[in-house]
């Protein structure tokens, strides 16, 4: 263990635990998922950074949105995100979730993903290399240290706005609101 971080471990052990065990939802959103198998297997070995893919969203705390988001996929993304236990972090991977990428004038692709769910960080590029995932993960560590990776808190606070945007796309939603009005 790094001796310099000993104070952090004593001050906030839970935070350090979250930081070094990021469990990723293995959710194939678009073409970007092709970068995930080399990242998690022997070549780049994401487990060095404590990143490991898990089977279900209920065990995960990191959500990589890998690639373009069609309207049908957005529904699945919202469902997956709402199932994840807190604290949870989201990273948009590739240029498509940022502003639509090469699908900026498509009739069926969501342009800006942060209008529908909160995003903690973006990885630009088309496609980003697996190294970029690790740069994002190390950057996410700093954000967690400084308590700036607060997407799930923002989702709780501004849930009405997020839900309103989601309902603008889907009309009537099939599931009730996650957070009730207080």
């Amino acid at each position: 263990m790094d001796r310099n971080q000993l104070v952090k471990w004593i001050k906030a052990p839970a935070k350090m635990g979250h930081k070094y065990s990021l469990h990723v939802v293995y959710f194939c959103t678009g073409c970007g998922i092709i970068e995930i198998p080399p990242s998690i297997t022997a070549r780049w070995d994401a487990e060095r950074f404590g990143v490991i893919p898990v089977a279900t969203p209920r065990q995960a705390n990191l959500f990589l949105i890998t690639g373009y988001v069609s309207t049908k996929t957005l529904k699945a993304i919202i469902r997956t995100y709402e199932q994840m236990p807190e604290p949870k972090y989201t990273v948009g991977f590739g240029s498509c979730p940022i502003n639509g990428g090469m699908y900026w004038d498509s009739y069926n692709t969501i342009k800006k993903l942060d209008k529908y769910i909160p995003i903690d960080g973006w990885i630009a590029g088309c496609m980003p290399r697996p190294e970029a995932v690790f740069v994002a993960v190390t950057h996410l560590w700093t954000l967690i240290d400084k308590e700036m990776a607060d997407g799930y808190k923002r989702y709780r606070e501004k849930y009405d706005y997020y839900r309103a945007n989601q309902e603008k796309v889907f009309g009537e939603m099939e599931w009730p609101p996650l957070y009730g009005k207080e």
Partner: protein, 168 residues
């Protein structure tokens, strides 16, 4: 050569069909909308039993839709690979754009069902005799089918996605 044989056979049976071939194993048949269905069943009886795909082209200047059916033959069970299996037959027919209505070919080729559903959703062509022309891919509501040439995607994107406010 099997292609010349087939060509002369088809010209004899369907006088009005325009038959051409751009590549060595492609045969393109253009014919009237009243004869396309009988052409497809005729080709099926000749052994071209595999419907590879149905596609649609929007010729907006001519005010017509073009339906494209691609057929080929299955390999025989003794694994011999002859010229017949290499051949792709492309049947094209044009229908009116205002009516946008054609006959379903499910009775001839059963696997036409998802293709016709897709074309119905994206181009708005009604296929008579299709059991379920229900939505297949699209979630959003569009004022006209999105693959038509006069559907302005940029306008739609500006109006629809541009009007959703950012949260932060």
């Amino acid at each position: 050569m099997i292609m010349e044989e087939l060509k002369s056979k088809l010209e004899k049976a369907f006088g009005s069909a325009k038959i051409s071939s751009n590549y060595s194993n492609n045969l393109a048949i253009e014919l009237d909308e009243t004869q396309a269905i009988s052409m497809l069943s005729y080709l099926k009886n000749l052994g071209y039993k595999h419907l590879a795909l149905i596609s649609c082209v929007d010729w907006i200047e001519d005010n017509q839709f073009e339906l494209v059916y691609v057929l080929s033959a299955y390999m025989p069970s003794d694994d011999s690979y002859s010229e017949k299996e290499k051949l792709n037959i492309i049947v094209k027919t044009r229908i009116s754009r205002e009516e946008a209505k054609y006959i379903s070919i499910i009775d001839i080729f059963e696997n036409a069902e998802p293709y016709e559903r897709e074309i119905h959703e994206l181009f708005g062509i009604h296929f008579e005799g299709h059991p379920r022309l229900t939505p297949l891919f699209l979630v959003l509501k569009y004022d006209k089918p999105p693959f038509r040439k006069d559907f302005d995607t940029r306008q739609f994107v500006d109006d629809y996605f541009g009007n959703i406010p950012p949260v932060e």
